[in-house]
Protein backbone atom coordinates (compact mmCIF):
# COMPACT_ATOMS: atom_id res chain seq x y z
CA UNK A 1 0.00 0.00 0.00
CA UNK A 2 2.81 2.37 0.91
CA UNK A 3 4.58 1.33 -2.26
CA UNK A 4 1.58 2.21 -4.43
CA UNK A 5 1.26 5.51 -2.63
CA UNK A 6 4.88 6.41 -3.28
CA UNK A 7 4.44 5.65 -6.99
CA UNK A 8 1.43 7.94 -7.10
CA UNK A 9 3.23 10.63 -5.15
CA UNK A 10 6.22 10.57 -7.49
CA UNK A 11 4.00 10.70 -10.56
CA UNK A 12 2.07 13.65 -9.21
CA UNK A 13 5.28 15.45 -8.24
CA UNK A 14 6.74 14.90 -11.68
CA UNK A 15 3.58 16.15 -13.39
CA UNK A 16 3.41 19.16 -11.10
CA UNK A 17 7.01 20.12 -11.79
CA UNK A 18 6.32 19.83 -15.52
CA UNK A 19 3.40 22.16 -15.03
CA UNK A 20 5.51 24.64 -13.07
CA UNK A 21 8.21 24.48 -15.76
CA UNK A 22 5.69 25.29 -18.49
CA UNK A 23 4.16 28.10 -16.46
CA UNK A 24 7.60 29.60 -15.83
CA UNK A 25 8.54 29.39 -19.51
CA UNK A 26 5.21 30.87 -20.58
CA UNK A 27 5.62 33.68 -18.05
CA UNK A 28 9.12 34.41 -19.30
CA UNK A 29 8.33 34.26 -23.01
CA UNK A 30 5.00 36.06 -22.93
CA UNK A 31 6.33 38.87 -20.73
CA UNK A 32 6.02 42.15 -22.58
CA UNK A 33 9.54 43.06 -23.72
CA UNK A 34 10.95 46.33 -22.45
CA UNK A 35 13.82 48.24 -23.97
CA UNK A 36 15.77 47.59 -20.79
CA UNK A 37 15.43 43.84 -21.34
CA UNK A 38 17.52 43.99 -24.48
CA UNK A 39 20.44 45.41 -22.49
CA UNK A 40 19.98 42.69 -19.87
CA UNK A 41 19.90 40.05 -22.59
CA UNK A 42 23.12 41.34 -24.15
CA UNK A 43 24.69 41.21 -20.69
CA UNK A 44 23.59 37.58 -20.37
CA UNK A 45 24.83 36.71 -23.87
CA UNK A 46 28.20 37.88 -22.63
CA UNK A 47 27.95 35.60 -19.61
CA UNK A 48 26.70 32.43 -21.31
CA UNK A 49 28.09 32.98 -24.81
CA UNK A 50 31.31 34.93 -24.82
CA UNK A 51 32.62 33.29 -21.67
CA UNK A 52 31.96 29.84 -23.19
CA UNK A 53 33.90 30.71 -26.34
CA UNK A 54 37.26 29.45 -25.11
CA UNK A 55 36.09 25.94 -24.20
CA UNK A 56 34.05 25.73 -27.42
CA UNK A 57 36.93 26.78 -29.65
CA UNK A 58 39.48 24.53 -27.97
CA UNK A 59 37.23 21.46 -28.01
CA UNK A 60 36.12 22.15 -31.59
CA UNK A 61 39.71 22.37 -32.73
CA UNK A 62 40.73 19.16 -31.01
CA UNK A 63 37.66 17.18 -32.06
CA UNK A 64 38.24 18.18 -35.68
CA UNK A 65 41.91 17.23 -35.40
CA UNK A 66 41.19 13.85 -33.81
CA UNK A 67 38.55 13.04 -36.41
CA UNK A 68 40.93 13.84 -39.24
CA UNK A 69 43.61 11.65 -37.66
CA UNK A 70 41.26 8.72 -37.04
CA UNK A 71 39.53 9.05 -40.39
CA UNK A 72 42.81 9.24 -42.26
CA UNK A 73 44.22 6.02 -40.80
CA UNK A 74 41.11 4.11 -41.96
CA UNK A 75 40.45 5.85 -45.28
CA UNK A 76 44.06 5.60 -46.44
CA UNK A 77 43.70 1.79 -46.54
CA UNK A 78 41.17 2.18 -49.34
CA UNK A 79 43.00 5.00 -51.07
CA UNK A 80 40.01 7.17 -50.23
CA UNK A 81 41.73 9.81 -48.11
CA UNK A 82 40.19 12.42 -50.42
CA UNK A 83 36.90 11.71 -48.64
CA UNK A 84 38.39 13.00 -45.39
CA UNK A 85 36.91 16.47 -45.98
CA UNK A 86 33.27 15.40 -46.31
CA UNK A 87 33.66 12.94 -43.44
CA UNK A 88 34.90 15.62 -41.04
CA UNK A 89 32.48 18.27 -42.31
CA UNK A 90 29.36 16.12 -42.31
CA UNK A 91 29.92 14.59 -38.89
CA UNK A 92 30.64 18.01 -37.41
CA UNK A 93 27.73 19.81 -39.05
CA UNK A 94 25.14 17.09 -38.54
CA UNK A 95 26.03 15.61 -35.16
CA UNK A 96 29.08 16.68 -33.23
CA UNK A 97 28.67 20.43 -33.62
CA UNK A 98 25.17 20.69 -32.14
CA UNK A 99 25.50 17.81 -29.65
CA UNK A 100 28.94 18.47 -28.17
CA UNK A 101 28.21 22.19 -27.99
CA UNK A 102 24.99 21.45 -26.12
CA UNK A 103 26.76 19.14 -23.68
CA UNK A 104 29.56 21.64 -23.06
CA UNK A 105 27.02 24.44 -22.78
CA UNK A 106 25.06 22.48 -20.18
CA UNK A 107 28.23 21.95 -18.15
CA UNK A 108 29.71 25.40 -18.58
CA UNK A 109 26.73 27.77 -18.72
CA UNK A 110 23.71 25.70 -17.64
CA UNK A 111 25.13 24.80 -14.25
CA UNK A 112 26.12 28.44 -13.67
CA UNK A 113 22.59 29.62 -14.53
CA UNK A 114 21.06 27.12 -12.11
CA UNK A 115 23.42 28.03 -9.30
CA UNK A 116 22.92 31.76 -9.84
CA UNK A 117 19.14 31.64 -9.90
CA UNK A 118 19.03 29.07 -7.09
CA UNK A 119 21.15 31.28 -4.87
CA UNK A 120 18.96 34.28 -5.73
CA UNK A 121 16.03 32.24 -4.54
CA UNK A 122 17.81 31.01 -1.39
CA UNK A 123 18.83 34.53 -0.40
CA UNK A 124 15.28 35.70 -1.18
CA UNK A 125 16.34 38.15 -3.84
CA UNK A 126 13.55 36.89 -6.08
CA UNK A 127 10.95 37.55 -3.39
CA UNK A 128 12.41 41.00 -2.75
CA UNK A 129 12.04 41.80 -6.44
CA UNK A 130 8.41 40.80 -6.23
CA UNK A 131 8.02 42.99 -3.16
CA UNK A 132 9.23 45.91 -5.27
CA UNK A 133 6.66 45.04 -7.93
CA UNK A 134 9.36 43.84 -10.34
CA UNK A 135 8.41 40.61 -12.06
CA UNK A 136 11.36 38.22 -11.56
CA UNK A 137 10.22 36.18 -14.58
CA UNK A 138 10.63 39.22 -16.77
CA UNK A 139 13.68 40.72 -15.10
CA UNK A 140 15.73 37.59 -14.29
CA UNK A 141 14.39 34.60 -16.21
CA UNK A 142 13.50 36.01 -19.65
CA UNK A 143 16.89 37.62 -20.45
CA UNK A 144 18.73 34.46 -19.42
CA UNK A 145 16.42 32.26 -21.48
CA UNK A 146 16.76 34.36 -24.63
CA UNK A 147 20.51 34.72 -24.15
CA UNK A 148 20.90 30.95 -24.02
CA UNK A 149 18.65 30.39 -27.04
CA UNK A 150 20.56 32.98 -29.06
CA UNK A 151 24.07 32.11 -27.93
CA UNK A 152 24.08 28.33 -28.29
CA UNK A 153 23.42 28.04 -32.07
CA UNK A 154 26.14 30.67 -32.54
CA UNK A 155 28.53 28.61 -30.45
CA UNK A 156 27.62 25.48 -32.43
CA UNK A 157 28.39 27.23 -35.73
CA UNK A 158 31.75 28.41 -34.42
CA UNK A 159 32.43 24.89 -33.14
CA UNK A 160 31.77 23.32 -36.55
CA UNK A 161 33.80 25.90 -38.45
CA UNK A 162 36.78 25.58 -36.09
CA UNK A 163 36.53 21.79 -36.21
CA UNK A 164 36.67 21.77 -40.01
CA UNK A 165 39.71 24.03 -39.88
CA UNK A 166 41.25 21.68 -37.29
CA UNK A 167 40.62 18.75 -39.64
CA UNK A 168 42.38 20.73 -42.36
CA UNK A 169 45.30 21.36 -40.03
CA UNK A 170 45.87 17.66 -39.34
CA UNK A 171 44.65 16.15 -42.61
CA UNK A 172 46.20 18.55 -45.09
CA UNK A 173 49.06 20.30 -43.34
CA UNK A 174 50.32 17.32 -41.38
CA UNK A 175 49.25 14.08 -43.10
CA UNK A 176 49.46 15.41 -46.64
CA UNK A 177 45.92 14.98 -47.97
CA UNK A 178 45.55 17.15 -51.07
CA UNK A 179 44.13 20.53 -50.04
CA UNK A 180 42.12 20.83 -53.24
CA UNK A 181 40.36 17.51 -52.76
CA UNK A 182 39.74 18.24 -49.05
CA UNK A 183 37.71 21.33 -49.95
CA UNK A 184 36.26 20.39 -53.32
CA UNK A 185 34.85 16.98 -52.37
CA UNK A 186 33.50 18.61 -49.22
CA UNK A 187 31.77 21.24 -51.34
CA UNK A 188 30.33 18.60 -53.64
CA UNK A 189 28.96 16.59 -50.73
CA UNK A 190 27.77 19.11 -48.14
CA UNK A 191 24.45 20.72 -48.96
CA UNK A 192 23.56 24.04 -47.41
CA UNK A 193 19.86 23.50 -46.79
CA UNK A 194 20.13 19.85 -45.86
CA UNK A 195 23.24 19.64 -43.72
CA UNK A 196 24.06 23.11 -42.43
CA UNK A 197 20.51 24.33 -41.84
CA UNK A 198 19.43 21.07 -40.20
CA UNK A 199 22.40 21.35 -37.87
CA UNK A 200 21.34 24.87 -36.94
CA UNK A 201 17.75 23.72 -36.30
CA UNK A 202 19.11 20.95 -34.09
CA UNK A 203 21.17 23.31 -32.01
CA UNK A 204 18.19 25.67 -31.65
CA UNK A 205 16.14 22.83 -30.20
CA UNK A 206 18.98 21.85 -27.87
CA UNK A 207 19.41 25.48 -26.84
CA UNK A 208 15.76 25.79 -25.85
CA UNK A 209 15.80 22.53 -23.91
CA UNK A 210 19.12 23.04 -22.10
CA UNK A 211 18.43 26.65 -21.14
CA UNK A 212 14.92 25.83 -20.05
CA UNK A 213 16.07 22.97 -17.81
CA UNK A 214 18.88 25.07 -16.34
CA UNK A 215 16.65 28.02 -15.54
CA UNK A 216 13.79 25.93 -14.20
CA UNK A 217 16.05 23.86 -11.96
CA UNK A 218 17.37 27.06 -10.43
CA UNK A 219 13.96 28.67 -10.15
CA UNK A 220 12.47 25.53 -8.61
CA UNK A 221 15.43 24.66 -6.38
CA UNK A 222 14.96 23.92 -2.68
CA UNK A 223 16.36 27.14 -1.16
CA UNK A 224 19.15 25.55 0.86
CA UNK A 225 22.80 25.02 0.02
CA UNK A 226 22.11 21.29 -0.38
CA UNK A 227 19.13 21.99 -2.63
CA UNK A 228 21.19 24.23 -4.90
CA UNK A 229 23.97 21.68 -5.24
CA UNK A 230 21.37 19.05 -6.08
CA UNK A 231 19.70 21.32 -8.63
CA UNK A 232 23.02 22.07 -10.31
CA UNK A 233 23.81 18.37 -10.64
CA UNK A 234 20.34 17.67 -11.99
CA UNK A 235 20.70 20.41 -14.58
CA UNK A 236 23.80 18.84 -16.07
CA UNK A 237 22.45 15.27 -15.92
CA UNK A 238 18.96 16.04 -17.22
CA UNK A 239 20.05 18.34 -20.01
CA UNK A 240 22.72 15.89 -21.20
CA UNK A 241 20.18 13.08 -21.28
CA UNK A 242 17.59 15.27 -22.99
CA UNK A 243 20.11 16.39 -25.61
CA UNK A 244 21.23 12.85 -26.43
CA UNK A 245 17.67 11.53 -26.55
CA UNK A 246 16.36 14.42 -28.65
CA UNK A 247 19.35 14.11 -30.96
CA UNK A 248 18.28 10.61 -31.92
CA UNK A 249 14.72 11.72 -32.58
CA UNK A 250 15.81 14.75 -34.62
CA UNK A 251 18.34 12.73 -36.61
CA UNK A 252 15.70 10.13 -37.42
CA UNK A 253 13.34 12.87 -38.58
CA UNK A 254 15.94 14.80 -40.59
CA UNK A 255 18.23 12.20 -42.08
CA UNK A 256 16.65 8.81 -41.35
CA UNK A 257 13.79 8.85 -43.83
CA UNK A 258 14.39 10.04 -47.37
Amino acid sequence: MNYLQSIGQNTLNALMSFGRAFLMLAGAILAIPQSKNIRLTVQQIYVVGVQSLLIIIVSGLFIGMVMALQGYTILVNYGAEGSLGPMVALSLLRELGPVVTALLFAGRAGSALTAEIGLMKATEQLSSLEMMAVDPLRRIIAPRFWAGVIAMPMLALIFSAIGILGGHLVGVDWLGVDAGSYWSIMQATVEWDKDVVNGIIKSFVFAIVVTWIAIFKGYDAIPTSEGISQATTQTVVYSSLAVLGLDFVLTALMFGIN
Binding site: Y46, V50, A89, V190
Partner: protein, 155 residues
Protein backbone atom coordinates in the same frame (compact mmCIF):
# COMPACT_ATOMS: atom_id res chain seq x y z
CA UNK B 1 32.35 51.22 -18.57
CA UNK B 2 31.63 47.56 -17.90
CA UNK B 3 28.59 47.61 -20.21
CA UNK B 4 30.75 49.09 -22.97
CA UNK B 5 33.27 46.27 -22.61
CA UNK B 6 30.48 43.69 -22.51
CA UNK B 7 28.87 45.06 -25.62
CA UNK B 8 32.23 45.10 -27.38
CA UNK B 9 32.85 41.45 -26.54
CA UNK B 10 29.32 40.42 -27.55
CA UNK B 11 29.89 42.26 -30.81
CA UNK B 12 33.09 40.27 -31.35
CA UNK B 13 31.13 37.10 -30.63
CA UNK B 14 28.54 37.99 -33.27
CA UNK B 15 31.26 38.80 -35.83
CA UNK B 16 32.95 35.48 -35.07
CA UNK B 17 29.65 33.68 -35.69
CA UNK B 18 29.16 35.50 -38.97
CA UNK B 19 32.67 34.49 -40.02
CA UNK B 20 31.84 30.87 -39.17
CA UNK B 21 28.62 31.05 -41.22
CA UNK B 22 30.54 32.57 -44.11
CA UNK B 23 33.12 29.80 -43.97
CA UNK B 24 30.42 27.14 -43.86
CA UNK B 25 28.44 28.73 -46.67
CA UNK B 26 31.19 29.59 -49.12
CA UNK B 27 33.98 27.16 -48.38
CA UNK B 28 32.15 24.08 -47.06
CA UNK B 29 28.73 23.99 -48.70
CA UNK B 30 29.64 26.08 -51.75
CA UNK B 31 26.34 27.91 -51.52
CA UNK B 32 27.65 30.85 -53.52
CA UNK B 33 26.21 34.32 -53.28
CA UNK B 34 24.69 34.23 -56.75
CA UNK B 35 22.43 31.24 -56.19
CA UNK B 36 20.64 31.20 -59.55
CA UNK B 37 23.16 29.96 -62.09
CA UNK B 38 21.96 30.25 -65.69
CA UNK B 39 21.41 26.81 -67.18
CA UNK B 40 19.45 24.97 -69.84
CA UNK B 41 17.83 21.56 -69.80
CA UNK B 42 18.54 18.46 -71.89
CA UNK B 43 16.89 15.05 -71.74
CA UNK B 44 18.47 11.64 -72.23
CA UNK B 45 16.80 8.25 -72.31
CA UNK B 46 18.72 5.27 -70.98
CA UNK B 47 17.96 1.54 -70.73
CA UNK B 48 19.43 1.37 -67.27
CA UNK B 49 20.75 4.16 -65.08
CA UNK B 50 22.51 1.97 -62.51
CA UNK B 51 23.29 4.05 -59.41
CA UNK B 52 22.90 7.50 -60.95
CA UNK B 53 21.29 10.00 -58.59
CA UNK B 54 19.96 13.53 -58.81
CA UNK B 55 22.80 16.07 -58.38
CA UNK B 56 25.33 13.70 -60.00
CA UNK B 57 27.83 15.53 -62.18
CA UNK B 58 27.75 15.83 -65.97
CA UNK B 59 31.32 15.91 -67.26
CA UNK B 60 32.97 16.58 -70.59
CA UNK B 61 36.46 15.13 -70.51
CA UNK B 62 36.49 15.41 -66.71
CA UNK B 63 35.25 19.00 -66.58
CA UNK B 64 31.91 19.39 -64.82
CA UNK B 65 29.51 21.26 -67.11
CA UNK B 66 26.24 20.52 -65.34
CA UNK B 67 24.29 18.31 -62.98
CA UNK B 68 21.54 15.72 -63.10
CA UNK B 69 18.38 17.65 -62.30
CA UNK B 70 16.01 14.72 -61.85
CA UNK B 71 15.32 11.18 -63.00
CA UNK B 72 11.92 9.77 -63.87
CA UNK B 73 10.40 6.79 -65.67
CA UNK B 74 8.78 7.27 -69.05
CA UNK B 75 5.29 5.79 -68.61
CA UNK B 76 4.95 4.77 -72.30
CA UNK B 77 7.96 2.55 -72.84
CA UNK B 78 9.10 2.16 -69.22
CA UNK B 79 12.62 3.46 -69.67
CA UNK B 80 14.30 5.92 -67.32
CA UNK B 81 14.66 9.51 -68.51
CA UNK B 82 17.42 11.66 -67.02
CA UNK B 83 16.95 15.44 -66.96
CA UNK B 84 20.29 17.23 -67.29
CA UNK B 85 20.80 20.84 -66.34
CA UNK B 86 23.78 22.20 -68.28
CA UNK B 87 25.44 25.53 -67.56
CA UNK B 88 24.48 28.25 -70.07
CA UNK B 89 28.19 28.91 -70.52
CA UNK B 90 28.47 25.67 -72.56
CA UNK B 91 25.70 26.09 -75.11
CA UNK B 92 27.20 24.93 -78.39
CA UNK B 93 27.30 21.14 -78.22
CA UNK B 94 26.40 19.60 -81.62
CA UNK B 95 23.34 17.38 -81.69
CA UNK B 96 25.48 14.36 -82.60
CA UNK B 97 26.80 14.33 -79.02
CA UNK B 98 26.42 11.21 -76.92
CA UNK B 99 26.11 10.56 -73.20
CA UNK B 100 27.18 7.54 -71.15
CA UNK B 101 26.88 6.66 -67.49
CA UNK B 102 30.37 6.16 -66.08
CA UNK B 103 31.83 5.40 -62.67
CA UNK B 104 34.63 7.41 -61.12
CA UNK B 105 37.14 4.92 -59.78
CA UNK B 106 36.37 1.43 -58.54
CA UNK B 107 34.11 2.41 -55.64
CA UNK B 108 33.31 5.95 -56.70
CA UNK B 109 29.99 7.53 -57.51
CA UNK B 110 28.41 7.42 -60.96
CA UNK B 111 28.32 10.42 -63.25
CA UNK B 112 27.31 11.24 -66.80
CA UNK B 113 30.11 11.37 -69.33
CA UNK B 114 29.13 13.78 -72.10
CA UNK B 115 30.92 13.14 -75.41
CA UNK B 116 30.54 16.07 -77.81
CA UNK B 117 29.95 14.90 -81.38
CA UNK B 118 31.74 16.04 -84.52
CA UNK B 119 30.92 19.55 -85.56
CA UNK B 120 30.42 19.84 -89.32
CA UNK B 121 30.31 23.11 -91.22
CA UNK B 122 26.88 24.07 -89.99
CA UNK B 123 26.17 21.97 -86.92
CA UNK B 124 22.78 21.81 -85.29
CA UNK B 125 23.31 22.80 -81.69
CA UNK B 126 21.58 21.11 -78.74
CA UNK B 127 19.08 23.60 -77.30
CA UNK B 128 16.87 23.78 -74.24
CA UNK B 129 14.50 20.81 -74.06
CA UNK B 130 16.25 18.63 -76.66
CA UNK B 131 16.54 14.86 -76.31
CA UNK B 132 19.98 13.32 -76.70
CA UNK B 133 19.39 10.19 -78.78
CA UNK B 134 22.80 8.52 -78.52
CA UNK B 135 23.07 7.10 -75.00
CA UNK B 136 25.02 4.31 -73.36
CA UNK B 137 23.62 2.75 -70.22
CA UNK B 138 25.38 2.04 -66.96
CA UNK B 139 27.35 -1.15 -66.61
CA UNK B 140 25.61 -3.46 -64.18
CA UNK B 141 27.99 -5.94 -62.67
CA UNK B 142 25.45 -8.77 -62.49
CA UNK B 143 24.65 -8.42 -66.21
CA UNK B 144 28.35 -8.53 -67.05
CA UNK B 145 28.89 -11.67 -64.99
CA UNK B 146 25.79 -13.23 -66.57
CA UNK B 147 27.07 -12.52 -70.06
CA UNK B 148 30.49 -13.90 -69.17
CA UNK B 149 29.02 -17.14 -67.81
CA UNK B 150 26.71 -17.46 -70.82
CA UNK B 151 29.50 -17.02 -73.33
CA UNK B 152 31.68 -19.52 -71.47
CA UNK B 153 28.91 -22.13 -71.47
CA UNK B 154 28.34 -21.82 -75.21
CA UNK B 155 32.02 -22.43 -75.97
Amino acid sequence: MTTRKTELLVGTFVVLTLLAVLLLALKVANQGLSGSDQSYTLYAKFDNIGGLKPRSAVKVGGVTVGRVESIYLDQDDFTPVVVLSISEQYNNFPDTSSVAILTSGLLGEQYIGFQPGFAFDDPIVLADGDFISDTKSALVLEDLIGQFLFSRDSN
